[in-house]
Amino acid sequence: MEIKVEMDNNVVILKPIGNLVASSAEILKTQVAKLLEKNYLYLLLDLSKVDFVDSSGLGACIAVNKTLAAREGVLVCAGANETILKLFRITRADQKITLTASRLDALKFLQDKALLRSAR
């Protein structure tokens, strides 16, 4: 699996291509750790090019969400397919991580959060 990285203002967009399973979950976690070192706290995980997320992949999303939340950061997952959404719903991961249908919605959500924080 490869992860494309893009920037939109202060939001980092990570776009994995392929399945988010045990081996790729490690890559995702390493990537996020590097971003946190550089103080990037607003993360958009674009799942539109991911067909399948297994339990290790889901575990990695939850772990990333926790790490970000501990630093007052935010993770939003966008564009997940029906199979992935089902996994999030059954495990109630959808109550832990913000999900949006489109990448645009996610971007707006994250930029609003970032604005709110800078206004504080």
Binding site: A22, S55, S56, I62, R89, I90, T91, A93
Partner: protein, 383 residues
């Protein structure tokens, strides 16, 4: 001979060439030994096989260079061999290379310069080859040890799970198959204070950590569930113990926990992020979806508990997602077939479970990528 430089055996019936090479190699710090033909070389090699390199002429009486190479390689000797050859004998040298020589050197006026270069090159190549061989052997040995360990872990894990599930008034069938020797699935069943407890769990991943966590969970739930019969109390307590353990890992587990009260005939069911499980009542299926989050994410998490009477003849079917996510060659999952499969087998759970697995095996042609656990329990008709 310098420390670190090997002993070289020069084989040539021409004393002039042999002496010339011996002087050059000796001056460069190598130990040198000489033989006049292949036979003598072989005897010297047998007597002292620590020779680091053989430089041999091709045409010699008694035993020629080619025969010497064949004899050496037949003895499984890895000692590198450089063949000396005249300009007119290149084809012979190539034949020698095909038979296991490592390099060849022209016997011409430049030999004084070329011999040391050739020796260095062949010895370096040989050293790399031997290192590579050692590393490969080491890797194969470690793999064998790892496989042995995993086979042992598989046995231990199997022994952790109940061998059979049997309670008065209930019949049961179980099936457990890790995807690769060890896995993260588990199930358990016990009776205490007139309450039957059944559970099935699935740890994320199926590596060694999942197997270790599976063993911890199995012990934790059965110990918590000895005196407490409320699934919410058991799961809440387990979650609070597990969350700090799983912090900073991406591990979690999904679980269905059922407590059945013999007196009231009612079961209480909690599903922590687990796939839908079923109560089969005649031709009807009552599905039980997840009632709250997976375990290990947040100490404050809580769950809904569902209640349902378990009537005589009712069958509870619990399983892990390896069953419904198995795919056929068209990429379809077994999930679409499960409900029909469940209602079509009106058999004793001990027969039903292997039949469901056989149906799955046929569906996905034996391609299993996840652990699979099945647990079926039927309340017997009262006689």
């Amino acid at each position: 001979m310098n420390e670190g430089k090997c002993r070289i055996l020069i084989v040539d019936d021409d004393p002039f060439v042999a002496e010339l090479l011996a002087v050059i190699l000796d001056a460069d710090g190598y130990g040198v030994d000489m033989a006049e033909n292949g036979q003598e070389a072989l005897e010297k090699f047998d007597a002292a096989p620590d020779v680091g390199l053989i430089i041999s002429d091709m045409n010699m009486p008694v035993m020629n260079g080619l025969e010497l190479i064949r004899e050496l390689r037949g003895r499984n000797g890895h000692v590198p061999v450089i063949i000396l050859t005249g300009n007119s004998e290149i084809s012979v040298a190539i034949q020698a290379l095909k038979n296991g020589a490592n390099d060849y050197l022209l016997k011409d006026e430049n030999i004084q310069e070329t011999i040391l270069v050739a020796v260095d090159r062949v010895l370096e190549k040989h050293r790399l080859k031997m290192n590579n061989r050692l590393l490969t052997e080491d890797l194969a040995r470690k793999n064998r040890e790892l496989e042995k360990e995993r086979a042992l872990a598989h046995k231990v894990q199997e022994s952790i799970l109940p061998r059979s599930v049997a309670f008065p008034g209930f019949s049961a069938g179980t099936f457990y198959r890790p995807s690769d020797q060890i896995g993260g699935d588990f199930f358990d069943a016990w009776e205490s204070d007139n309450h039957l407890h059944f559970l099935i769990g699935d740890i994320s991943g199926h590596n060694t950590s999942a197997a270790l966590l599976m063993a911890v969970c199995k012990g934790m739930f059965s110990s918590l569930g000895q005196s407490v019969h409320d699934p919410l109390a058991v799961v809440t307590a387990a979650n609070r113990l597990l969350c700090p353990m799983l912090n900073d890992t991406e591990m979690f587990l999904t679980l269905v926990y059922i407590s059945y009260d013999r007196e009231s005939g009612i079961m209480r069911l909690l599903s922590a992020g687990h796939n839908t499980v079923y109560l089969v009542r005649g031709r009807d299926l009552i599905p039980f979806d997840s009632t709250g989050p997976a375990i290990g994410w947040d100490s404050d998490d809580t769950w809904e508990v569902l209640t349902e009477p378990v009537n005589p003849g009712d069958l509870l079917f619990l399983y892990t997602d390896g069953l419904i996510e198995a795919e056929n060659d068209r990429g379809e999952t077994f999930e679409g077939q499960l409900e029909e499969t469940l209602t079509s087998f009106n058999a004793h759970p001990a027969e039903m479970v292997p039949r469901i697995f056989a149906a799955l095996d046929g569906f996905c042609c034996g391609r299993f990528t996840d652990d699979i656990t099945l647990l079926a329990l039927r309340r017997e008709e009262e006689s």
